[in-house]
């Protein structure tokens, strides 16, 4: 197996540092939990006290920060994660309630407040400073640790990939189990029986011998005064009642009758609506604007000039956007007018040709082992946009020295701290109220949440609440995109039809190593990254660098199989370790897809297998090419090994959606730059896959290998594009090396 540094392997250094050894780091409402690294302590006494004050009302008792039990038996769980539709909050509630033996019907789950009791504010600030280009409050935390945190953030937020495996496994299950023990201890004292004679079920402690039982609500007040067991024994999975069950998601009913309240839906009396246009060339400044045409629009009240943007404040959105469009603001290009899609690819080619990589990974002397005539292929992929369905919409109100902000961001605490910095107010004067999020896929992360800064600036100079809504055009033009990337792959396939050496030289803004797990067992492997920055922000797009790396490696493996004259499944088998999880996933997927079964004329079958976020996913796709040159996907077969699954149906939904997002990007999506500005403006020129383009059949199978729990929100994405490209090659003999396919079909 090639050398693959993993997140776990990079962790030990910071653990040794005094002051950062804590059970959980919360970076803006996101738990970064030790995962076996940081000492586990159920209770951080200061945080527990503050949490109790923040959450427990009359007749309610708080336990270990994350839950409270009320005397009417209602159990409220505080999630540090924002559920963006991936079902992670339901999963977290299942995990805690399982170990607590709670009555599921009386379990509520709410967002944890964006307050320091639920977070390590200092580290949050430092991290934010780092991301916003204002370092300084980092308190000697090593760069590698911040970088580790940054990557954790991406994993976590994009699809809840770490919500269940870290927050859930490490914290929530233990909090549930420890709280259950405290309730039993209290009941034992009250009933005058040994704790060993007591069992628990449906939020009751039961003494079977005397046919007595006590509800948790009656025990909570006293139990909450006990110190909790730091390392309680967890249940044997065979006794699970809630975990591994497809329990309906808690958030769904409000999403079918229009009552779910997103940031876009927030309203208070006297609220105005604003919309904004930032410099089209990122890095540029607002140089001049004639406010007259906007102010002439009925309903427009004010034009506000920011350093790099202009906003229109009006009675409603339509007046605001009409006013904005009536103006012709002038912006500088910040010296970035030379960047274009073509210039970036040219820079990538030059860097790879020059051969001085910024980083290297792998093993063996690849130059010698590649031989004189390696198989070579060059791949290119574009910037990708998240295209969350809800454009940014945040409301802010500055009144009596206090600033309140309402809306959906992936990082409520970092959002709050950004507002603190921008407003100059003390931290205790700023409150961020998290609301439902209409999609994110990584977009609402701290890499580029300029919208928080913007709404803060507007609110600080307005006497009334203001809701800032980004138009779809602004949303697409001002993204934090998956990087544009290119790769040159080479391999030496010897006469025995085996790969003797394999190299992957890729160029983008930064190393993809953290999200590249190369699964094949080869004698000589090299991955070299070349770095070139444009004026675009490097975003975290669902599954991060695994999308392009998955496309490169799995397309190239297919090319090598064909070059060797070996069936693509067989060729992969020959390069995977015997008895490995990867081999099992590959074999199962090929078997379930009837890999060798004949197909109709014009239809091809392609396979791809990628490990990302500790989860292995293989897709077999059957596809053909339509008359217009666009692909038609007929059937998908998927096998997933995520170790174990908390909620099978919710996990399935994530794989379905991830696969579709992967296909959508492969088929039609590209953000291109010209003169430093994004050329796309709306769904008319950034086309997303629609229902009619999705196959009637998508078979999804999970292998419960019992391995360390992997993520589920993201890993469905990376193998989708290469499986499709490989299917199209099988169907037509034409290799797709540049994405999206749409651009090639039109060319």
């Amino acid at each position: 197996m090639a050398d693959n540094p993993t997140l776990e392997m990079e962790q030990p250094a910071p653990a040794k540092r005094k002051g950062v050894k804590r059970r959980a780091f919360l970076i803006g409402g996101v738990a970064i939990v030790g995962a076996g690294l940081f000492g586990i302590s159920i209770a951080d006494s200061n945080a527990v006290k503050s949490a109790a004050k923040l959450t427990a009302g009359k007749g309610e008792h708080s336990f270990a920060t994350w839950l409270k039990i009320a005397e009417d038996n209602v159990i409220t769980i505080y999630s540090p994660h924002t559920d963006i539709g991936q079902g992670s909050n339901t999963g977290l509630a299942q995990m805690l309630a399982e170990e607590l033996d709670a009555n599921w019907d009386l379990v509520k789950l709410v967002s944890a407040p964006a307050e320091s009791a639920f977070a390590n504010t200092g580290l949050g600030r430092g991290f934010l400073g780092e991301m916003s280009g204002q370092p300084g409050i980092i308190n000697g935390i090593p760069q590698s640790f911040l970088s580790f945190l940054a990557r954790q953030m991406n994993l976590q937020i994009t699809g809840g990939s770490t919500a269940l495996r870290f927050t859930g496994q490490v914290t929530f299950q233990k909090v549930g189990a420890a709280t259950r023990l405290a309730l039993i201890e209290t009941a034992a004292k009250r009933l005058g029986v040994p704790a060993s004679e007591l069992t628990t079920q449906d939020s009751h402690v039961i003494h079977a011998k005397s046919s007595r039982s006590l509800p948790y609500g009656k025990l909570a007040a006293e139990a909450a005064t006990l110190s909790l067991d730091n390392d309680p024994k967890l249940k044997d999975p065979k006794n699970y009642r809630l975990m591994r069950q497809s329990i309906p998601r808690l958030d769904i009913p409000a999403k079918v009758d229009g009552t779910a309240q997103y940031g876009m839906d927030f309203a208070v009396p006297d609220m105005r609506v604003a919309t904004i246009m930032a410099a089209p060339v990122r890095g540029g400044k607002l140089t001049s604007v004639d406010e007259g045409p906007a102010l002439a629009v009925k309903g427009v009240e004010k034009v506000i000039k920011l350093d790099d943007a202009v906003a229109v404040v009006a009675k409603g959105y339509w007046a605001a956007i009409t006013g904005l469009r009536a103006m012709t603001p002038q912006f500088s290009d910040g010296g970035n007018g030379g960047f274009s899609t073509a210039s970036i690819f040219k820079a990538y080619d030059d860097l790879i040709a020059k051969g001085e990589p910024a980083g290297e990974a792998g093993e063996g002397d690849v130059k010698a082992a590649l031989g004189a005539k390696p198989v070579e292929a060059k791949y290119q992929v574009p910037f990708l946009h998240h295209a969350m369905m809800e454009p940014f919409a945040l409301t802010a109100h500055f009144k009596d020295g206090k600033l309140d902000i309402w809306g959906g961001m992936q990082d409520p605490l970092a959002s709050k701290m950004m507002a603190v910095d921008v407003s100059g107010l003390d931290s205790d004067k700023v409150t961020f109220h998290p609301m439902l999020i209409g999609g994110s896929f990584g977009r609402r992360l701290p890499m580029y949440m300029e919208v928080v800064s913007q709404v803060t600036k507007l609110a600080m100079q307005l006497p009334y609440p203001v809701k800032l809504i980004w138009s779809r055009e602004e949303e697409i033009a001002q993204g934090a995109y998956r990087p544009q990337s290119a790769a040159l792959l080479k391999a030496n396939v010897t006469a025995d039809k085996r790969i003797a050496a394999y190299s992957n030289d890729y160029a983008q803004t930064e190393s993809a190593e953290a999200e590249t797990t190369f699964i094949y067992n080869l004698p000589v492997v090299a991955r070299r990254n070349y770095e070139h920055k444009s004026n675009q922000i490097t975003g975290a797009w669902r599954s991060v660098n695994s999308t392009q790396q998955g496309f490169y490696n799995e397309s190239f493996m297919d090319e090598l199989a064909h070059a060797a004259g070996v069936d693509p499944v067989e060729f992969r088998r020959n390069h995977l370790k015997a008895d490995s999880r990867h081999l099992r996933v590959l074999d199962e997927c090929a078997r379930l897809a009837n890999w060798k079964a004949p197909l109709p004329e014009g239809v091809g079958r392609g396979i791809a297998i990628v490990e990302s976020f500790k989860t292995i996913v293989a897709h077999v796709i059957e596809a053909s090419v339509k008359e217009d040159g666009m692909p038609k996907v007929h059937k998908i077969t998927t096998v997933v090994d995520a170790g174990s699954i908390v909620n099978p149906d919710a996990a399935k939904a994530q794989i379905e959606g991830g696969t579709i997002m992967g296909l959508s990007s492969a088929i039609g999506e590209a953000i291109t730059l010209e003169k430093g500005a994004v050329q796309q403006s709306n769904f008319s020129d950034y086309p997303l896959l629609k229902l009619a383009d999705t196959p009637l059949v998508h078979d999804i199978h999970f292998i419960n290998s019992g391995a360390y729990m992997g993520g589920i929100g993201e890993p469905g994405v990376p193998p989708a594009a290469p499986a499709l490209a490989n299917a199209l090659f099988a169907a037509t003999g034409k290799r797709v090396r540049n994405l999206p396919i749409l651009t090639q079909a039109k060319a």
Partner: protein
């Protein structure tokens, strides 16, 4: 100008510029926020409502064009006693929504399709259901539409 229309069975008077889209009158003036803003160019369908029973993308429909017409929003498809519409029930049973932002529009498009066709075929679903869902809930949308009309799902496995 003032425009008189019917929304979810009630007569309302809207104070809006004639060219302003119906979406913003529904959301900002009537406070019915179940209908969503997604793109502003009738491309995504998050703003889908019914106008005289036909699906319409309200972000691009001038309010002047709905004078005297009957509008139904997601808030108006429940029964008089508050019971969910069969399509809403099917949506819950199939666990369709993920982020949920587009789902009001999806449900309104599905209700209109079913009212028109009875039991839509897969081809009819493909043709009518052009609303965008970035979470990729399409397989479950298809399954829920079939289930709401008493048809078995087309996909053998697929959407659970």
């Amino acid at each position: 100008m003032t425009i008189s229309t019917t929304v979810n069975g009630k007569t309302v008077t809207l104070n809006a510029e004639p060219d302003s889209p119906l979406l913003w009158a529904i959301r900002e003036e009537l406070g019915l926020t179940g209908t969503k803003f997604g793109c502003g160019i009738a491309a995504c369908g998050a703003c889908t409502v019914h106008v005289n029973g036909e699906p319409a993308r309200s972000c691009s429909l001038p309010v002047s064009e709905v004078a005297g017409k009957s509008i139904t929003t997601i808030e108006g498809i429940k029964g008089a006693d508050g019971t969910l519409h069969a399509v809403q029930k099917a949506w819950i049973a199939a666990q369709v929504p993920q982020c949920g932002y587009c789902q009001s529009g999806q449900i309104m498009a599905a209700v209109a399709l079913i009212q028109k066709t009875g039991k839509p075929t897969d081809d009819q679903i493909d043709e009518a259901m052009t609303n965008i869902c970035r979470c990729g809930t399409y397989p479950r949308i298809r399954k829920a539409i079939h289930a709401a009309t008493g048809q078995a799902a087309t996909a053998v496995e697929g959407a659970a």
